[in-house]
Symmetry: C2
Subunit: 279 residues, 2 copies
């Protein structure tokens, strides 16, 4: 049986595009939420999952990280960088001049503001819960309504792509992570994601001390974020991405030193760093 | 004429609740997006604005910060902490046992998962673009549909609140910022928000050095975040909140030292720190 890969549904989203890019031959299974996606991997209901983690139109990093914190088996095993190509999609036969309303996720409408102002001035913008949902909703409309969404959603729904690349920023890239149960060994070009917190409420003041082991070892940090835990304002946890593998000697030492300061501490995963392929 | 305060619409959202809490007697004006909200303050179309900046059901920090970076006059002049009370809302006369479908923003559906599993097992969850929109959509339905949203949306739409506080986490608090054009003076319990970047691509590796002036001066950091700029993966900007006012001597020195390392640098605002009021 082919490998199964969970993704945040519905079908036709950028996340499904990423899941297909990651494992073209796999069986791709839509789940209703990112916590469900992570739980499906942890319970071995599926082999792997793909979800957005940064600069995403389709979802949020915190859902995945929050879900991973409590899991025994699910961990980050890889990452993908996907250029986000937003398409203007309508019923076949529609011309630009007919369009009076454009619907999509609010974030996608915002990301295409310049195109909409220049080419579709005065159209009514209709926020939708997902880009894919906006595209499939066109079935019930006449040719005066268009959607902004992924090429794949147009394909699945047999809709016409009037224009590709309508997003304002040409370098619109989303980072997705692969969730699996087996920790990959060293590839020589790895990064590691960790999450931790402190047992003091003014924890962000401790962050400088927590970063010292990495600075001393010359380990390059590639992401840092303090997130409110939701339990109480003023209580934060920290996300850190850095170059290196948890089995590297310098990383092991830095993590051991860091854990002298932390309360909760967890390695979310060490995995090969993705490079954006040049076109 | 009373003061005008912009907020991210539609009416009935938690953001409108925060805008009313901030300035009860003001004229509150709904805008379609957070960039529009910030632009309205910058162009003096309105006096002030209120928008979500952290742990929010209703929006995202980055929209406000992105919008503030390019503005000459608009800046953060205050903050508010609002406990988010999610209500189960339905047509008057509806009982729990009738409900077959529940709609809300996807984030709100996720935040009430425990309640839904325990009290409404098997209901269909319908993601909506806004909590307020989910509530007003109930007009077109019979009593088998309910919404999760703010008390204010129930009031505005003459709907019944079947249950309050249905969110899983009882300490669900959103931080909102006030945007204005006049920088507030020192209150003695201030915090400052800044944004900056570096001119090197491996910028996150520089963050430790950038934090040194604050650690040396004993200035407590209350938030730190690296954000992809959207221009290119690997190029980040940094958000920092810390205790103190930009006119304080130690803060001025730390900021001057920090600017020796940064490319872009901007003070988003110094403003009195909000405290969560005990009930």
């Amino acid at each position: 049986m082919s490998k199964s890969v969970a993704f945040l549904g519905p079908e036709g989203t950028y996340t499904e595009e990423a899941a297909i890019l990651h494992a073209p031959g796999a069986r791709h299974v839509a789940y209703p939420s990112l916590p469900d996606v992570v739980a499906a991997v942890d319970s071995a209901e599926v082999d792997e999952a793909v979800g957005p983690i940064e600069n995403s139109i389709a979802g949020s990093v915190n859902d995945i990280v929050d879900a991973l914190i409590g899991k025994q088996k699910a961990r980050i095993t890889g990452e993908l960088l996907l250029p986000i190509d937003v398409c203007l999609i309508a019923l076949p036969g529609t011309s630009l001049s007919q369009i009076k309303r454009v619907r999509s996720k609010a974030e996608a409408l915002g990301q295409c503001r310049r195109f909409l102002t220049e080419h579709l001035p005065g159209v009514v913008l209709e926020p939708y819960d997902s880009t894919a949902g906006a595209v499939s909703s066109l079935f019930a409309e006449d040719g005066t309504v268009a959607a902004l969404g992924p090429n794949r959603a147009a394909d699945l729904n047999h809709m016409a792509v009037l224009k590709t690349g309508v997003q304002d920023r040409t370098n619109n890239v989303t980072r997705f992570v692969v969730i699996g149960r087996e920790a990959p060994g060293r590839s020589g070009r790895d990064k590691t994601s960790i999450v931790f917190d402190f047992d003091r409420e003014d924890a962000p003041g401790l962050v400088y001390a927590a970063l010292k082991p990495f600075a001393d070892a010359g380990i390059n940090l590639t992401k840092i974020e303090s997130r409110p835990t939701g339990e109480k304002i003023g209580v934060y946890y920290f996300l850190l991405d850095f170059d290196g593998h948890e089995q590297d000697d310098d990383v092991r030492s830095a993590l051991a030193e860091l854990q002298r300061h932390t309360a909760m501490f967890k390695v979310l995963g060490s995995y090969p760093r993705a490079e954006l392929r040049a076109d």
